[in-house]
């Protein structure tokens, strides 16, 4: 069998976090009672007209600038005509000929290799409502709360060569959207959705193979599985001498396979034409500059800075920059306590563990950078042992109290008084004469045993380094 090359292009729909919908003043809040977030405009009643929400253009320009796109000086809306019950007007207002942004790129890294993925275009459009089918009745319900929620559609070039690259591209894009605070990136709630165009061709062949479009992949895991499945399916077809049929396929996560959409649903001639109810949007340099000034530090820049400024390894910078809030949290801790690596370690292990268990973000930790820095300061100055610190941290998370008050209330301060540690060692050595003899006979590995006994006797409070030194002194003397 010949080797095949995989060609993937992605279309991402990102729901924007604007206060109101794209063409009316209804709220964009998710999860309300069906059809409560609607008005005559987003319901497509007779005679109503759309009015563009300027904040949507702001979001589009922001993403365009962050991906190196050029921003169109005059951008135009168009109608995409098709019938579907959750599409109130019988057309979607989107962009066709003159998208807001074009010709940008995103940099990804897979297996240590950097790669630049082209972005063809970024355009603005409105979301449709949601159709919910009751398969038992049969009955269908439509919720128009989502109708008119603003979307950015981001279309990549077919530069992706594997499912791993595709997933990495999606992760990088999602992180960027979240950094720019224009999309919450929630794949389950559908605020970050993707469709994929997939084809394969024999290595070396210039002409692209026949592609299929994949839909309904609502998690990174599903994207991975669906793409792998599709690539395998196409290669098997070609290897048999069959041809790939150009079609749209839906990923079925329950069955772990994709199935072709009914051809009736995809044989659309969308009859695009310029939307006569909206005037072309003129995006001048002043507007672009205004948005440029609001751009935050982007994830890749932040990672690089964390490496140079704080001397952190790349694993740490990757983890700490997974959200703007987490990165800020880290930096605020460092500002209070100048121990970047200790703070990084504590955040990556203890803090993220707690957040993961509780399914929450750093904002909902209930503890701020001063509390975390305060706890780590106690460790650093020797007041609290690392072991007990974990206990104290749990208590902090549970109660929201600071480390200092917990430590002093429970009497957990580390025992660093040499005389008192010696007294404890004295007792341990007297209780274990055999082990003392064996140690003195050359079995120095028993040191750990004595340390453990002293820790036990002091309920973990004895300073471990000091205890070590003192035991050795006393046994060797």
């Amino acid at each position: 069998m010949r080797d095949f090359e995989v060609v993937i292009g992605l279309e991402v729909h990102a729901q924007l976090r604007t206060q109101s919908k794209i063409f009316c003043s209804c709220s964009t809040v998710f999860g309300l009672e069906p059809n409560t977030n609607t008005c005559e405009v987003c319901l497509g009643m007779p005679g109503v007209l759309p009015v563009l929400n300027r904040a949507v253009v702001d979001c589009g320009i922001k993403l365009g600038l962050a991906t190196g796109c050029s921003v169109e000086p005059v951008t135009v809306f168009a109608r995409k005509n098709y019938f579907y019950p959750d599409l109130p007007k019988g057309y979607q207002i989107t962009q066709y000929d003159h998208p807001l942004c074009s010709n940008g790129h995103l940099d990804i890294e897979v297996g240590g290799e950097k790669k630049r993925i082209g972005i063809v275009r970024i355009h603005m459009e409105e979301d449709a409502g949601k159709t919910i089918h009751d398969e038992d009745k049969p009955l269908s319900f439509i919720d128009f709360n989502r109708a008119g929620v603003p979307l950015l559609e981001i279309v990549s070039r077919p530069d992706l060569r594997s499912s791993s690259e595709a997933v990495e591209y999606l992760k990088v894009l999602r992180l960027l959207l979240m950094y720019l605070e224009i999309c919450d990136g929630n794949m389950e709630e559908g605020s970050f959705r993707c469709d994929a165009n997939v084809s394969v061709k024999p290595v070396g062949q210039q002409v692209l193979g026949i592609r299929t479009e994949l839909k309904n992949m609502n998690s990174f895991r599903n994207v991975h599985k669906a793409l792998d499945y599709e690539v395998r399916r196409q290669i098997e077809l070609l290897a048999k001498g069959d041809t790939v049929v150009q079609e749209t396929r839906l990923w079925n996560a329950a069955l772990n396979e994709s199935q072709p959409m009914r051809s009736k649903e995809e044989s659309h001639d969308y009859r695009y034409f310029p939307e006569p109810d909206l005037v072309p949007v003129v995006v001048d340099e002043a507007w672009i500059d205004e948005i440029r000034a609001t751009l935050p530090e982007l994830p890749s820049d932040k990672r690089a800075r964390f490496a140079t400024t704080y001397g952190l390894p790349s694993y740490d910078t990757e983890v700490l920059t997974q959200s703007r809030a987490l990165a800020d949290f880290f930096e605020q801790c460092v500002e209070i306590l100048d121990s970047p690596k200790d703070i990084s370690n504590w955040i990556m292990t203890e803090v993220l563990h707690v957040l993961k268990v509780r399914g929450k973000g750093i904002g909902q930790l209930g503890l701020g950078p001063p509390e975390i820095a305060g706890l780590l300061a106690l460790i650093r100055e020797g007041t609290l042992s690392g072991t007990l610190a974990k206990e104290v941290f749990s208590e902090m998370v549970a109660s929201g109290r600071d480390a200092h008050s917990i430590v002093s209330e429970k009497g957990l301060e580390q025992l660093s008084d040499k005389e008192r540690i010696r007294e404890a060692i004295e007792v341990v050595l007297n209780e274990h004469p055999k082990e003392v003899a064996r140690y003195r006979g050359g079995k120095t590995q028993l040191l750990g045993f004595f340390v453990g006994q002293v820790m036990k006797a002091t309920r973990g409070k004895a300073n471990p380094n000091l205890t070590n030194t003192l035991i050795r002194e006393m046994l060797d003397s």
Binding site: E40, L43, G44, M45, P46, G47, V48, L49, P50, V51, L52, R79, N81, F83, P85, P88, K89, G90, Y91, I142, K264, D269, R271, Y272, F273, P276, D277, L278, V279
Partner: protein
């Protein structure tokens, strides 16, 4: 309208007495001008106007009965577009123009008849049957704003709102002997006007005189935050004085006197142009070579937009829903088959065709390009003149039984009104004579963008010198 306002101030009548009398007249009227009569609310509005009038409210529109074409949304009052598909539809919102009139204290007397979805020139394709011309009940009042024109001409209201996409205010005004203005595209909000062709539709005032039309226009014009295509306009003063026609250059395009123009219409329009010359105007010939493409360009663009605008009538959320459908595509096709008339379906199909893959460039795109040329042609002409004059329609009102079977012949009736629509220019029809059968003839005046002041001023000057607009059917 001004007359009604004067009678209120002179104490000759009150809004309540006026509205009561009109409602009685409408009850026995047989022009089929109204689809819905707003009797109850109109009397409430009249009672309020009575009080406001006593308190010294000086607004000309206070208590004045205005009829609204039934494709303009009125809160709590059915808005059917004369279509079965919207026969049960009552909006929860007012069109911006209606809200403006209500705020001024005008009385919404009722909703007037039209060709279904304003697609037609005869007001015969309505779901409630044709309206009749007050000058001859066997004739069409024109269309699509035929109900509004008939209501104004037969004195069932003081003024009315129509809508004009390719001539739907001007042509019925011409056929019914009243004055009708199609404003500059963008000078009046379209919010709440049920869309036919979005890039052409404008709400237009209709009245017995250019002064009445001017008052109504002043009440409905201006930028609306709910309509992005609306603008404030530069000439903001209410025009109530006649324009001094001395030195005004009136352009007369040869193309406006083409084959198919009735002799009587040609004669009356030429006499009207002579009147303007006598008033001091300079009559100059102008070239408008692209006018001949108007009808073709119009029917491509208007139908394209209509095919998309009418997609929302799918039986899912409101309006007619076919009861026979068992699955989705059937629900669509049956609802729309039952809900739309033949002309509406024809335009939806034409529009769908010209936007389809493979035809878009040849039809829609090409038509848009020619439209741009027509705009430039007018701009060029307006460097040589201040106004353009010609006939509103090539013929006068024809018999309801003489209805042309061939849609193309009907489309050609719009030949003189379409160019100003495509170019977005303000245009007005004013009465300028009668044919040998005694039916009214309209003179069309066209002005540069946002120069309604010139248009209305010239119309007032013309009407101050003539009496055609005062003749009652």
């Amino acid at each position: 309208m001004l007359e009604t306002a004067r009678r209120y101030r002179r104490g000759e009548t009150t809004p309540t007495r006026e509205i009561e009398a009109l409602l009685e007249k409408i009850r026995t009227d047989d022009h089929n001008a109204f689809i819905t009569v707003n009797a109850e609310e109109a009397l409430e509005q009249a009672a309020r106007a009575d009080r406001d009038l006593n308190e010294g409210n000086e607004d000309i529109l206070l208590g004045v009965p205005i009829a609204i074409k039934d494709n303009i949304c009125t809160r709590g009052l059915p808005t059917t577009c004369a279509s079965r598909i919207l026969s049960n539809f009552t909006p929860a919102y007012d069109a911006t123009v209606v809200r403006g009139l209500r705020n001024r204290g005008a009385v919404i007397i009722g909703k007037t008849n039209l060709d279904e979805f304003a697609m037609g020139s005869t007001t015969t394709s309505s779901s409630i049957g044709p309206s009749r011309n007050p000058w001859d009940r066997t004739k069409t009042p024109g269309g699509s704003s035929g109900g509004s024109a008939a209501a104004v001409a037969s004195r069932l209201c003081a003024g009315a709102l129509g809508s004009d996409t390719g001539g739907s205010v001007r042509q019925p005004a011409s056929f019914c002997g009243i004055t009708g203005l199609k404003p500059t595209y963008g000078s009046v909000s379209r919010y709440g006007l049920v869309a036919f062709a979005s890039s052409l539709d404008q709400v237009g005032p209709m009245g017995r005189s250019a002064r009445d039309v001017s008052v109504l226009f002043d009440a409905i014009r201006g930028h609306d935050p709910r309509d992005s295509t609306s603008v404030q306009g530069t000439h903001s003063l209410l025009t109530l004085d006649g324009l001094d026609m001395h030195g005004i250059r009136v352009g007369v395009p040869k193309a406006f006197f083409a084959q198919g123009l009735s002799e009587d219409v040609e004669g009356a329009v030429n006499s009207a142009i002579s009147v303007m010359r006598e008033l001091g105007a300079d009559i100059v010939p102008v070239d408008l070579t692209t006018l001949t493409y108007g009808v073709a360009v119009y029917y491509i663009i208007a139908c394209a937009e209509a095919s998309s605008n009418l997609a929302r009538y799918d039986g899912v959320r409101y309006g007619l829903r076919s009861s026979d459908a068992t699955e989705l595509v059937e629900l669509y096709s049956r609802t729309r088959a039952e809900g739309f008339n033949a002309e509406v379906k024809r335009r939806i199909m034409l529009g769908t065709y010209v936007l389809s893959a493979g035809y878009y460039e040849a039809y829609y795109l090409k038509a848009s390009q020619v439209r741009t040329l027509m705009v430039q042609d007018f701009q060029q002409a307006f460097t040589r003149c201040d106004l353009i004059a010609g006939p509103t329609a090539p013929v006068t009102a024809f018999g309801l039984d003489e209805m042309l079977d061939d849609p193309l012949s009907i489309y050609l009736l719009d030949i003189y009104t379409i160019p100003a629509s495509l170019a977005g220019l303000p245009a007005m029809s004013i009465p300028c004579g009668f044919d040998r059968g005694g039916l009214p003839i309209g003179l069309q005046l066209i002005a540069p963008s946002f120069r309604e002041d010139v248009l209305l001023g010239a119309g007032i000057a013309f009407q101050d010198a003539t009496t055609f607009h005062e003749v009652m059917p």
